[in-house]
C-alpha cells in the first residue's frame, strides 16, 4: 500500500497527465455520445448567451451585407408571390349592391412588355382571356389612362398605349366640361395633344384633362393629363393643346384592366337608336 502511494506521489505528474489526456481524448472521440453533448449543452448556456451578446454588438457591422441578403431574399419571395404567376382565374370580385349597380370591374395585371419610343406603342399584360380580359377594355393606373386592349390571348393581352397613332380617346377639360379628342404626335412620350376644342373656349395652362365617359370603354373622370400650352393654328377654329400625360408610360408596372359590365346593353341601345335614325 505504501509502495503504491510512493509510486503515485513519485509519478503523479505523468499519471495526472495520462489521466487528463485519456479523459480529453475520450471526450473528443465520443463527442457524439450523450455525456459529451450534455457537457456541451450545459456549457452552451454560458457560451451561448456570451456569443449572443457579442453578436448583438457586432451585428451592426454586418448590416450592409445583411441588408443585401434581405433584399435578395425579398426578391426571391416576391418571385414566389402570387403576382409573379399567371393566374388562371381573375383576382377580382364583385359586390352586389342593389342601390349601386356595378358598372366597372377592375382586373389587376402586370406590364410585361412596354415601349415608348416607337410611333405606335403597345403594351403587353400578363393576363388574358382566362382572367376575363376582352378586346376594347380600358387599361388604367391609379394615375390615369394608359390605353385600350386590342388583342387577347389565353394568358396575355396586348394593349394599345395612348402613345399610338391610332389612339382616339375622348377627353374633357375638367374645368369647363369641353370635349375634345386626344392624339399623340409621336415625338415625346411625356406629352400628348388635345384637339377639337373650339377656339372660343377659355382655357388656361394647368387645366386638367379627364376622360369624358362618353365612350363605352373608359369610366368618366379618369385623369389623362394637364395642359402645358395651347394655341390656335392659322385658319383653324379649334385649339391645339399640348398636355403632359399624368401617367409615366416609361415606368408602367401594374395596371388595372377595366371591364364595363353594361357595355353590351349600351351597344345594343345604340344599335336600336341607329334603327330609329334610319327611319
Amino acid at each position: 500500500m505504501r509502495n503504491i502511494l510512493v509510486f503515485l506521489i513519485r509519478y503523479h505528474f505523468l499519471l495526472l497527465f495520462l489521466l487528463l489526456e485519456i479523459f480529453s481524448v475520450t471526450l473528443l472521440v465520443n463527442s457524439t455520445y450523450y455525456q459529451s453533448s450534455a457537457i456541451l449543452k450545459a456549457g452552451s448556456r454560458v457560451t451561448g448567451s456570451f456569443y449572443n451578446s457579442i453578436s448583438n454588438a457586432t451585428d451592426y457591422l454586418k448590416l450592409r451585407t445583411t441588408n443585401e441578403h434581405l433584399a435578395n431574399e425579398n426578391a426571391l419571395l416576391r418571385q414566389m408571390k402570387g403576382v409573379s404567376f399567371l393566374k388562371n382565374d381573375t383576382s377580382s370580385f364583385w359586390i352586389n349592391d342593389t342601390l349601386y349597380k356595378q358598372q366597372y370591374k377592375y382586373i389587376v395585371a402586370k406590364v410585361v412588355l412596354n415601349t415608348v419610343g416607337k410611333r405606335n406603342n403597345y403594351i403587353m399584360l400578363d393576363k388574358g382571356s382566362r382572367s376575363g380580359i376582352q378586346k376594347d377594355m380600358a387599361v388604367i393606373t391609379s394615375n390615369g389612362i394608359v390605353g385600350t386592349v386590342v388583342t387577347v390571348s389565353e394568358n396575355f393581352s396586348w394593349v394599345m398605349s395612348m402613345l399610338n397613332k391610332h389612339t382616339r380617346i375622348s377627353g374633357r377639360i375638367m374645368k369647363n366640361n369641353q370635349m375634345g379628342t386626344i392624339v399623340w404626335n409621336g415625338i415625346d412620350h411625356l406629352y400628348g395633344t388635345l384637339t377639337d376644342i373650339p377656339a372660343h373656349v377659355k382655357i388656361s395652362k394647368g387645366d386638367t384633362i379627364v376622360s369624358s365617359g362618353y365612350s363605352y370603354i373608359f369610366p368618366a373622370g379618369l385623369m389623362i393629363g394637364t395642359i402645358t400650352d395651347f394655341r390656335v393654328e392659322q385658319g383653324e377654329h379649334f385649339y391645339t393643346i399640348p398636355f403632359r400625360f399624368s401617367v409615366d408610360f416609361n415606368a408602367l408596372q401594374y395596371v388595372y384592366v377595366v371591364k364595363n359590365l353594361m357595355k353590351d346593353e349600351q351597344e345594343s341601345l345604340e344599335k336600336s337608336m341607329e334603327g330609329v335614325k334610319d327611319e
Binding site: 505528474f13 497527465f17 489526456e21 479523459f23 471526450l27 473528443l28 457560451t47
Partner: protein, 172 residues
C-alpha cells in the same frame, strides 16, 4: 503571491476572450488558426506544481473547447503542452536560482530565452493539436504546413501580447 494568482486569473479570462472573439475568426485559406490562449500555460510561474500546471492547462483548454464545440481537443493539447513544459524549460535553460520572483516572461528571462521557449511550446502544442484533429497521416504535408504556419502566427501574437502587456518598469 496573492497578486500573482489574481494576475493569472485576469490573464486567463483575457486570453479566452481574445482567443474566442479574435483568433478564432482568423482564417487564412483554412490553414491559419492562431491559438494565443497557450500563453496562459507559458506564463504560469516556474514554481507551479506539476499537478496544478496540468489541471490549470486542462481548465484552459476545456474552456476554449466549450466555446468552439470541440470538446476535448484543446483540453488534450493544453495538457500535452503543460506536460512538456518542464522539459522545454530544462532544454532552453532553467531560471536563475537566486531570484524567487522570476517568471517565464520576456522581460525577465530575456528575448533569446523567451523566443526559444515560446517557439518550442507553440510548436509542441500545435503539433499535438493538429495531429489529434486530423488523426491521419494521409495528408501529412498539408498538416505539417498547417502546423508550421499556425505556430508562426501564434508565436507572433504571443510576442505582440508580451510587448503590449509589458510592465512599464521592466521596459525602462
Amino acid at each position: 503571491m496573492n497578486r500573482l494568482v489574481i494576475n493569472n486569473i485576469f490573464r486567463f479570462i483575457l486570453l479566452v476572450l481574445i482567443q474566442v472573439l479574435v483568433m478564432n475568426k482568423v482564417n487564412f485559406y483554412g490553414f491559419l488558426n492562431p491559438y494565443i490562449y497557450i500563453l496562459f500555460i507559458l506564463l504560469l510561474p516556474f514554481e507551479t506544481p506539476g499537478w496544478l500546471l496540468l489541471l490549470l492547462s486542462f481548465l484552459m483548454g476545456f474552456t476554449v473547447d466549450l466555446f468552439t464545440g470541440t470538446l476535448g481537443l484543446h483540453a488534450a493539447s493544453s495538457v500535452f503542452a503543460a506536460f512538456v513544459r518542464p522539459m522545454i524549460i530544462k532544454l532552453v535553460g532553467e531560471k536563475p536560482d537566486y531570484d524567487i520572483t522570476t517568471q517565464p516572461k520576456l522581460q525577465q528571462m530575456g528575448l533569446k530565452w523567451f523566443i526559444a521557449y515560446a517557439l518550442l511550446m507553440t510548436f509542441a502544442h500545435h503539433l499535438f493539436l493538429n495531429m489529434l484533429d486530423v488523426f491521419s497521416f494521409d495528408e501529412i504535408w498539408q498538416t505539417l504546413l498547417r502546423i508550421l504556419v499556425s505556430s508562426l502566427f501564434t508565436f507572433l501574437f504571443i510576442m505582440l501580447f508580451e510587448y503590449i502587456f509589458a510592465p512599464k518598469k521592466a521596459k525602462a
